[in-house]
């Protein structure tokens, strides 16, 4: 009978042999031996399976490593072929700020050969004024891993001129396939020069516009100044005489001076409307009307007093160009006063304004001398005057029409000789247009 080998060794060591053991004792040993065998088999199986799995793991590990290497290699390959084939010039800058790699397109953009660049410090090829900016940008991409920053820098070319380059710098220092900063860029010198030229001509235009503005105001001032001196002398002459004829003559001179002066003001209004960009101001109609009518007060004193009635309903904020709104109202109201009917016992002008989110409707109605229907189209023409009694310059309504057009508004007239005139004007609310359609406002 053969027991399990381990058990045999243990018996031999403990008791020498089993001679003289009883049947029962031997039977027990046999059972023990079987359980030894069993355990041994179990352990062997476990060992074998462990052995097997560790083999598998090593294999797997090896496979993975191989795959990773292949992938890395593949990535490097892909990366290189990508940067070699892209239109953008690409350079890799290592952590020592040396140029580690350049794409073929770099040669095309800058005119250098690979050996001129690779291994050199990148600073050598950057414009000194840009260095601080670049190191700031790099600092940002370093502190913020794998982020990318847009850059606009000057890079030195082989011919020692600088090319304006636009592109991005990306931090791939953690990527083993790259291990540096990737700088991709394209030469935009031509575009930049165009842009600079446009900017320059824009600022020149702005400057010449400002100069023209200054010129227009200076000229109008210099034209007015002697007129107003004359007006002053007329005033003091009149106030220091009791001679009726002199007073009458002074009044005639004053009338002529005033006409010439308002003509200058109208030319100024015209040039302003034609030239000045549209502005967007909050419009307070009551305030504008108060100012306009108080400006016209002295004019009313000279003719028959005209009752100016104002009715304003503002349902929403109204936005438009304040100066232009003032020009429109001033011209129309002064016309109503100037052309009041001398046969009318109670001459009036009714100003009704209703504004909402869409538009402002302006109605200016008078019971003045009126305009014959046949002239309704012509009165808006430049320098058109209805009769020899017109004391205006023939510019007023032309300016009104031009200004309303400029504000994208509409204008209509109803008038009958001897009955009176009504102007209806509608001006869009530039505030609402802006919020509803920002594109529309680009015209604004």
């Amino acid at each position: 009978m053969a027991f399990n080998k381990l058990l045999q060794r243990q018996i031999k060591k403990a008791v020498g042999n089993t001679d003289g053991w009883s049947e029962k004792q031997l039977a027990l040993l046999q059972i023990i031996s079987e359980s030894y065998d069993y355990n041994e088999k179990d352990r062997k199986m476990l060992e074998r399976s462990m052995d097997l799995s560790s083999h598998e793991m090593i294999d797997l590990n090896n496979n993975l490593r191989k795959e990773a290497d292949a992938r890395l290699h593949n990535n490097e390959h892909k990366f290189k072929s990508l940067i070699e084939n892209t239109f953008d010039a690409i350079a890799v800058i290592n952590m020592q700020s040396e140029i580690a790699f350049i794409s073929d397109s770099v040669k095309r953009v800058l005119g250098f050969e690979t050996e001129d660049l690779v291994g050199k410090k990148v600073d050598l090829f950057l414009h000194p004024e840009d260095l601080l900016n670049i190191s700031n940008q790099l600092g940002e991409v370093i502190s913020n891993h794998s982020s990318s920053k847009m850059i606009l820098i000057r890079i030195r070319k082989n011919d020692c001129s600088y090319a304006w380059c636009e592109g991005a710098v990306t931090n791939l220092t953690n990527d083993p396939a790259v291990g540096g900063f990737v700088l991709n860029f394209r030469d935009i010198t031509e575009r930049k020069e165009h842009e600079d030229a446009i900017e320059k001509s824009l600022s020149q235009l702005k400057k010449s516009n400002q100069e023209l503005d200054k010129f227009v105001y200076s000229v109008s001032h210099d034209l007015r100044a002697p007129l107003l001196s004359m007006l002053g002398i007329v005033d003091i002459t009149e106030s220091s005489t009791s001679e009726e004829m002199t007073v009458q003559h002074m009044n005639m001179i004053r009338g002529s001076i005033t006409r010439l002066d308002s003509f200058i003001a109208e030319i100024l209004d015209y040039s302003r409307n034609a030239r000045m960009e549209l502005k967007r101001d909050p419009i307070d109609f009551r305030k504008i009307l108060d100012e306009t009518t108080s400006d016209l007060k002295h004019m009313r004193e000279e003719t028959k007093p005209v009752d100016v009635r104002i009715e304003v309903k503002e349902e929403d904020y109204f936005v438009s160009d304040k100066t232009r709104i003032e020009v429109i109202l001033k011209n129309l109201i002064s016309n109503s006063i100037r052309y009041a009917n001398p046969n009318e016992n109670s001459p009036y002008v009714n100003i009704r304004i209703k504004s909402d989110s869409q538009k402002a409707d302006i109605e200016i109605e008078d019971n003045g001398i009126g305009i014959n229907e046949e002239y309704h189209q012509k009165i808006f023409e430049m320098f058109y005057r209805v009769s020899e009694n017109s004391t205006g310059s023939g510019l007023g309504l032309y300016i009104v029409k031009e200004t309303v057009d400029r504000l994208y508004g509409t204008l209509s007239i109803q008038s009958k000789t001897g009955k009176g005139t009504t102007f209806n004007i509608s001006i869009p609310n530039a505030g609402k247009r802006f919020y509803e359609s920002p594109l529309l406002i680009t015209n604004y």
């Binding site: 105001y217 200076s218 109008s220 001032h221 007015r224 100044a225 107003l228 001196s229 007006l231 002053g232 002398i233 005033d235 003091i236 106030s239 220091s240 200058i264 003001a265 100024l268 100066t323």
Partner: protein, 143 residues
């Protein structure tokens, strides 16, 4: 006849005819006892600097033109702030101009020393306006 509203006013304007008009209207309306006229800002500054410690020489009101050669009205005001403050403190400054430039009006209203803007030419009703405003501001004028 009521006594003049001011003891002394100053007119600073490069146009002599406008100085003539203003001073004529001032005299005619018994607006001020004495009128100091200057055609150049530099002369006015020199006068004010020389007399800053003599209150009986300083103007209580100034009619100031804007557009003048060399030093214009606004530059004059700037230079005035560099002189002893007593000059500005006791002077009611009124800008008088024939400008149509809104920028001139804006600059006048933004200047803390400018109390009023008047369009040329100065006339009787302008002076009445000033009189009323000063009366409303101070029921007992200290002038």
């Amino acid at each position: 006849m009521v006594s003049p509203l001011f003891d002394r006013i100053m007119i600073l304007d490069d146009t002599s005819i406008d100085r003539y008009i203003t001073s004529y209207v001032v005299k005619q309306n018994n607006f001020s006892n004495e009128i100091i006229e200057f055609g150049m800002a530099a002369q006015a500054l020199e006068y004010l600097e020389r007399h800053f410690d003599q209150p009986e020489k300083l103007p209580q009101l100034l009619f100031l033109d804007i557009r003048m050669p060399q030093i214009d009205g606004f530059q004059f005001l700037e230079k005035l702030t560099l002189l002893p403050p007593v000059i500005l403190e006791n002077c009611y400054i009124i800008v008088v101009s024939s400008t149509l430039d809104p920028a001139d009006l804006r600059r006048s209203s933004e200047n803390p020393h400018v109390k009023k803007f008047l369009n040329k030419p100065i006339n009787k009703s302008h002076l009445a306006e000033i009189r009323n405003e000063l009366a409303a501001k101070n029921s007992e004028p200290s002038f």
